[in-house]
Symmetry: C2
Subunit: 242 residues, 2 copies
């Protein structure tokens, strides 16, 4: 099959996957480029491939062909690679002992960076508040460098899930710019949840109030705060070393 | 004085400060927003203030007034704050013991994040290779959150300056994705230079060849590499704790 028109109903359906609403409705999302299409295939979630006519396929799945006009219509980068994949959303796995919770993260680049560092430092699950940026947003997928498929990610009401996790003996740890224990001397609990906050405002007070311990990163007083991706990565690195 | 035309020669001169060439020629750069204008004043580098007519000034310097048309012409953000400052470039200070060297960093957001973390974790000087992004680029200034003024930053030929620094008894430490010593057990030298590489390619081989020690961040094998801002921040945090 070769698609050459952006008015084709199938192509219009694919285009809609650039919205969170449609991703949620269909349980599908798009990926762009050879590397991530291959990773999606290896993960068993790749459903369809759309390939620029004349280009090579790198996964053993019969491709649909598209014209360069259709490719540019579907792609979100200025100079796209010639392959687009349609994927099923990932299934939820077990929580594990090391949980990272993100309260209202908004920047897709920050979330991508956090996912990448979370995989690097053996976080088992990322729990995002329902009002956070969508993990299947194309900028998140791009900045996570394909690491999205290698970690368990769920959305939840943080208040509700914190109650559940406390019953399961997780230690709930809030982060603040100051106050609480220094990361440098912090003892890692066996099962923990580390909560990081929004770019501008940190963790919301009603969520901090549910925490049992607090943690800060010691730093020079000339610096008011760190980038949230950096702060999360430093904490994940440091806890992974203990 | 009130400027209402973007054809005015003074306003056209200011606009040119958005290019590296003109910043280098004049030794001046622009900053936007109340917070950073105030910090520039406190640092003693604020030369002129351009204020939207009718708005309040937050520094004791007679402002020039501008119309909203001129403000939007000079500002680089979509909804600018009503104040723009013209600053003299920072003067070089002494190097200190803790030096971070960046080989061909290209992304302004990454450099801004690195500057912020370098201040947080007591790096004294950042040395950038001559082909790196300009530190007075407005996106670097914005993402450094004003921390730019609180650290010594110089540009140099890395090969030449490494030779100089070796004579001054600095230990030159290259970073790699693997190989060398683990950050976790690394002993910090009294005077050191840590070299971080470009976003895609890491540190250039000819620079790595000049290093005496090598360092890597231990991580899960599922993750190929970290964001360069994150990697630099983790190393700076970790060395600062020793």
């Amino acid at each position: 099959m070769l698609y050459t028109s952006i008015e084709n109903s199938k192509i219009k359906e694919l285009k809609k996957l650039q919205t969170k609403k449609h991703r949620d409705l269909t349980n599908l999302f798009l990926v762009e480029g050879y590397k991530i299409v291959k990773e999606a295939y290896e993960q068993g979630i790749l459903k369809e491939v759309y390939l620029l006519e004349g280009e090579h396929n790198n996964v053993p799945l019969e491709p649909n062909y598209i014209s360069s006009k259709v490719l540019n219509f579907l792609a979100t980068t200025k100079t796209p690679q010639p392959i687009i994949g349609v994927c099923k959303k990932l299934e939820t796995k077990t929580l594990g002992n090391n949980i990272l919770m993100l309260d209202n993260i908004q920047d897709p680049g920050n979330l991508g960076t956090i996912i990448r560092s979370a995989v690097a430092f053996n976080i088992d699950t990322i729990i995002l508040s329902n009002d956070s940026v969508d993990v299947y947003n194309e900028k998140v997928i791009r900045s996570s460098m394909g690491m999205l498929f290698k970690i368990n990610i769920i959305y939840a009401s943080l208040k509700d899930i914190i109650q559940e996790l406390r019953k399961e003996n997780y230690t709930i740890i809030g982060t603040k710019v100051d106050g609480g224990k220094s990361l440098n001397t912090f003892s890692k609990p066996l099962k923990y949840v580390i909560i990081m906050g929004n770019e501008g405002n940190g963790v919301r007070k009603e969520i901090l109030d549910l925490c049992e311990q607090y943690l800060y990163i010691p730093m020079n007083e000339n610096c008011e705060s760190l980038n949230v991706g950096v702060a999360t990565s430093i904490i994940a690195y440091s806890l992974n070393m203990r």
